[in-house]
């Protein structure tokens, strides 16, 4: 099994991003995803900068580098940028919207299907395979049983060897996308005058219930889980059902420690007790996502 470092979903200053990927070079990750997936107004790194950083990582490491692309694309300008990223001529691309699937298919290039593309069944997998999918990350709300059913059907229908399966296994879960920017709203600003305020919240803004229970994280137009998803205790199960890649989300520097921890877990599994006020694994067990099974 391989380990991947997912795309960072927060908005950080350029120097912090560069510092982070400097560390990523020597991390336990076999695959590194990078790029802006949330908001096209975030331009500390522009498309050419992401591609430059990606090429540098590809040159200087033995890791596979993948360019992750935007999830909610609304304007022609965003599509122009998306096309630039897709047609980079070198690095693999993660599609997070069907627009990217369409563009990659037109380019006749293989691609990864990211978590924001709604693939809930094996018929959909087959359609995406025909378009050029070579790796699939299931929607984060789906369970282990659901995945097992799909992978079993993929074997029965002789398509299991045509794609790798990756599972989002650690980090804040991307849960929703809106036209509205909730971070700008939290500062009482309209999106058109957001002043790029997401940069002041490198871990987003916590949205709690009035009883102090942590509910969500506001990250611009994206809403995330307030608890970090953690499948450390399910690693053996993932392996047994034939999952190829474990994804650790690039929330912060903790991700590097987690990569080491998951790597060790693959060799000598240990039982960890999750902290219910910080972590969750409910989605995997088909119960409320925010809970711990």
């Amino acid at each position: 099994m391989k380990l991947s470092l997912g795309p960072n979903m927060f908005f950080w200053p350029k120097t912090d991003i560069e510092q982070f990927y400097l560390q990523a070079k020597t991390s336990s990750a076999d695959i590194i995803y990078l790029g802006e997936t949330v908001c096209s107004k975030r331009r500390e790194l522009r498309a050419k900068d992401w591609l430059g950083l990606g090429r540098e990582l590809a040159r200087e490491t033995n890791k596979q580098i993948v360019i992750s692309t935007m999830t909610l694309l609304e304007s022609p300008a965003e599509i122009v940028t998306l096309k630039k990223l897709c047609d980079n001529g070198e690095l693999l691309v993660e599609a997070n919207d069907l627009s990217a699937v369409q563009i990659m298919h037109d380019l006749n290039m293989p691609f990864v299907v990211g978590p924001a593309i709604n693939c809930y069944n094996v018929s959909t997998l087959k359609i995406l395979l025909k378009q050029g999918m070579i790796r699939w990350l299931m929607p984060v709300e789906l369970s282990g049983d659901w995945l097992k059913t799909m992978l079993t059907q993929a074997i029965e229908q002789n398509i299991r060897d045509k794609f790798e399966c990756e599972v989002f296994s650690w980090g804040y879960l991307p849960l929703a996308y809106s036209a509205r920017c909730f971070t700008a709203r939290s500062e009482d600003r309209p999106k058109d005058d957001c002043q790029y305020c997401c940069i002041n919240y490198p871990q987003g803004r916590k949205m709690n219930s009035r009883e102090g229970e942590q509910v969500f994280v506001l990250n611009g137009i994206q809403t995330m889980s307030a608890y970090q998803y953690n499948l450390i205790n399910e690693v053996t199960q993932l392996k047994d059902m034939g999952v190829d890649i474990i994804r650790i989300s690039a929330d912060n520097e903790q991700a590097f420690t987690q990569l080491d921890k998951f790597k060790a877990q693959l060799v000598t599994p240990k039982a960890y007790s999750l902290e219910t006020d910080k972590e969750c694994n409910g989605f995997w067990h088909q119960i409320a996502g925010m809970s711990v099974a």
């Binding site: 999830t71 919207d97 709604n118 809930y120 094996v122 359609i127 509205r180 939290s186 009035r210 409910g282």
Partner: protein, 331 residues
Amino acid sequence: MELLCPAGNLPALKTAIDNGADAVYIGLKDDTNARHFAGLNFNDAKLAKGVDYVHQRGKKLHVAINTFAHASGEERWKKAVDNAVAIGADALIIADLGVLDYAANKYPEVERHVSVQASTTNLEAIKFFKNNFDVDRVVLPRVLSVQQVRQLAKTSPVPLEVFAFGSLCIMAEGRCYLSSYMTGESPNTVGACSPAKYVRWQETEQGLESRLNNVLIDRYQADENAGYPTLCKGRFDVDGDVYHALEEPTSLNTLELIPDLMAMGIVSVKIEGRQRSPAYVEQVAKTWRMALDRCNKNPDNFQVDGAWMKTLANLSEGSQTTLGAYHRKWQ
């Protein structure tokens, strides 16, 4: 421009047609549609009556099969397509790629509309659906501004339908797992957001509290109207500020955009609310029929009647309406 109204049952369907709908959309009585609520939707017998009523009056029936097919139950979604076609549906509203593929191959002659749940927000995504499933219409999610809808309408190879009135989903539809994060059930998987079985109301010393799967969504003072605890419309605490962090209880109302939408060539305006009563359907259909007729007669001088706005506000969440994402300031 077609007026497309919701119907959760046969009386609502008849009311919609009688009050000016050009078409109605319905769901079957199972989890294949995104309003899978107890006591709602159509069994086979009711469906047959509904189709007859609509067709005898020269109107159209759309069937929403717009949840995502379960890995272990794809047959149920295919059967829903078979049933809808057998009964004479004029259009199938579908979100799942596998289900669209099935419908396109088996029933190429029956119209396929890309459901709002498929989250199709740009030209390349529209091309994907056109190229792969030869779809006849795309229903746009409620995340685009009017300018963005206009741009898309100019270039889209497929006719577009937009949401015109009703409960406002503020997230890109089909891409929201907030409900399953809190309850284990989402629109994509079970066809319901913030399902009623997880809702609990409680009078406390601090006020009336609404909870969803035990998470406090809102707390109301005696002078405040309590609304259904849809989880994105509660009051939460962000660093000490308590406010509607995501959205207030409000409904979408786009009466004032009618001339714009007509000029852009939008083919259909959709009213939300299959879960609402026939009385709601009557009021909304009647009001929108009057508005569309007036605009058709004289699009250059169209003005929204104050009485229409009042009628619609009274049917809205929190008795208030918004232009939502169509208006950039909302974003």
